[in-house]
Amino acid sequence: MELFLQQFINGVTLGSIYGLIAIGYTMVFGIIGMVNFSHGDVFMVSSFIALIFFLVLTTWLGVASVALALLIVMVISMVLTGLMSWTIERVAYRPLRGSFRLAPLISAIGMSIVLSNFIQVAQGPRNKPVPPMVTESIALWERNGFTVSVSYKQLIIIAVTAVLLACFWFLVQKTSLGRAQRACEQDRKMAALLGINVDRTISLTFVMGAALAAVAGTLFLMYYGVVNFSDGFVPGVKAFTAAVLGGIGSLPGAVLGGLLIGLIETFWSGYFSIDYKDVAAFSILAIVLIFMPQGILGRPEVEKV
């Protein structure tokens, strides 16, 4: 029971990070039908941006409050990562729109390599650490010498994710930008007939996905304390898996998929073998897709229009 609870807390934490990244995959796929293979590396770069600005703020500018520094760093990383993603879309994807279907995918794989190699060269191949930030934790329950605890870091991750998802949900469901986005997702040509600038809406979708990935990147850095140029790959693949598991194109699906992947991974590590945690996550994906090819919350292919 104690182990179960502990792994549940750990799983939700990890799942929050996957969910935030997965939203970027699912939104871009929803609006232009493209798997944005560079999204994992955008996440990794955002983590480096967070790292650099965290060090600048705490060691050079002497910001003493870690919470304040984290908040500032997160906002900076969201803005810069958003800008970067906007540029990538303009340079590497938009010119290929309307060309054959694989072209933007190949370009995205290229972007992914460019980003990780750039960081490898600019920041070096080794793990980059930050000084430990938030170290306190709360003991929830103690029995038989086993303590179930939740760290402040975990609380921060879960809370920040919950708040952001709520804001994001509001943005997509209730604002004119969100409506335009959903319209483009359902019928781009019609959206244009109603005066929606489709290219701009697509750009903003990339920016929003990147901003959420930057939140994940900042939280990831805070949680693990280190980041490496290759850290885009595995979380990226996991988040993509989460998006597919939840039903690609579905926002609640991305969050649900993220949480499930996080939970499967931590439970597997807790009860079986840590070595096979990724195998477990991908096996569950395969099984779910056999019985639900659209993912858990995905919509069926055919729809009456």
């Binding site: 004119s176 959903r182 040509k189 019609m190 959206a191 007939l193 729809e303 229009v305």
Partner: protein, 255 residues
């Protein structure tokens, strides 16, 4: 069950320049020519119809006016302004609205959201007033407000497509085959609504139809398109009486 559509008994004086002018427009799909030099004028306050068989190029003309696909030759002028090379969304911002072929309702948005999309240009500034007008015009929409577009019947979708177009407060309303697949009573309801808007608000309408009989009765003027070319034009009543039109589009139809 017959639904009688009244014959248009008014004429519109062509004062000033046309609101919409299509001049020698040629449109291609790849290397295949779909419009072979089309000229059409729509004057303010008119209902103008374009009739023609399936595949004649009517929808292509509607979309060429919206710049997607763009005309390879010729010009499209709206209110004297050349819009041939403008992107669709900028053309829409000049207050041209279209209920396109196939209606293209956003299937996973509610009726209300579809109407909000129509009012995007003014950022919903007149939304509450305008939506009330739409309910007067098409009371069915009010009952379906929270239902998803994809679950509406064909007739309801068509009403929604027209209402969505009207939410943009257009100067020119373009309708592509609004009667397609609908029961006669629904067609009458829709055509009556269009006539009303034209009479009471002076709304200019460009109507594409295969249902030539009803369209020519509703319209002040009409054009006949065959194979990417306009072959005939005249007032609605002239075309209704024209033997060629009768032979090609009306004989065998309901009179």
């Amino acid at each position: 069950m017959t639904a009688v559509i009244e014959t248009q008994d008014t004429t519109v004086a062509k004062v000033g320049p046309p609101l919409l002018k299509v001049e020698g427009v040629k449109t291609y799909y790849g290397n295949i020519i779909a419009l072979k030099g089309v000229d059409v004028d729509v004057y303010p306050g008119e209902i103008v119809t374009l009739i023609g068989a399936n595949g004649a190029g009517k929808s292509t003309l509607m979309m060429t006016i919206f710049g997607n696909p763009q005309a390879r030759e010729g010009r499209v002028l709206f209110d004297g302004r050349d819009i041939t090379r403008m992107p669709s969304h900028e053309i829409a911002r000049l207050r041209i609205a279209q209920s396109p072929e196939g209606r293209r309702i956003f299937p996973r948005m509610t009726v209300l959201e579809n109407l909000q999309m129509g009012a995007s240009l003014d950022k919903l500034k007149y939304f509450n007033d305008d939506v009330e007008r739409m309910f007067t015009l098409f009371p069915r929409l009010k009952e379906r407000l929270t239902q998803r577009g994809g679950t509406l019947s064909g007739g309801e979708q068509q009403m929604l497509a027209i209402a969505r177009a009207l939410m943009a407060r257009p100067r020119l309303l373009m309708l592509d085959e609004p009667s397609l697949g609908l029961a006669p009573l629904i067609v009458k309801q829709i055509f009556d609504a269009v006539r009303d808007l034209n009479r009471t608000e002076g709304l200019t309408v460009f109507l594409v139809e295969q249902n030539a009989f009803h369209a020519l009765k509703l319209a002040h003027r009409g054009y006949v398109m065959v194979n990417g070319l306009v072959t005939l034009s005249g007032t609605g009543q002239e075309l209704l009486a024209n033997p060629e039109v009768r032979a090609a589009y009306l004989e065998g139809g309901r009179h």
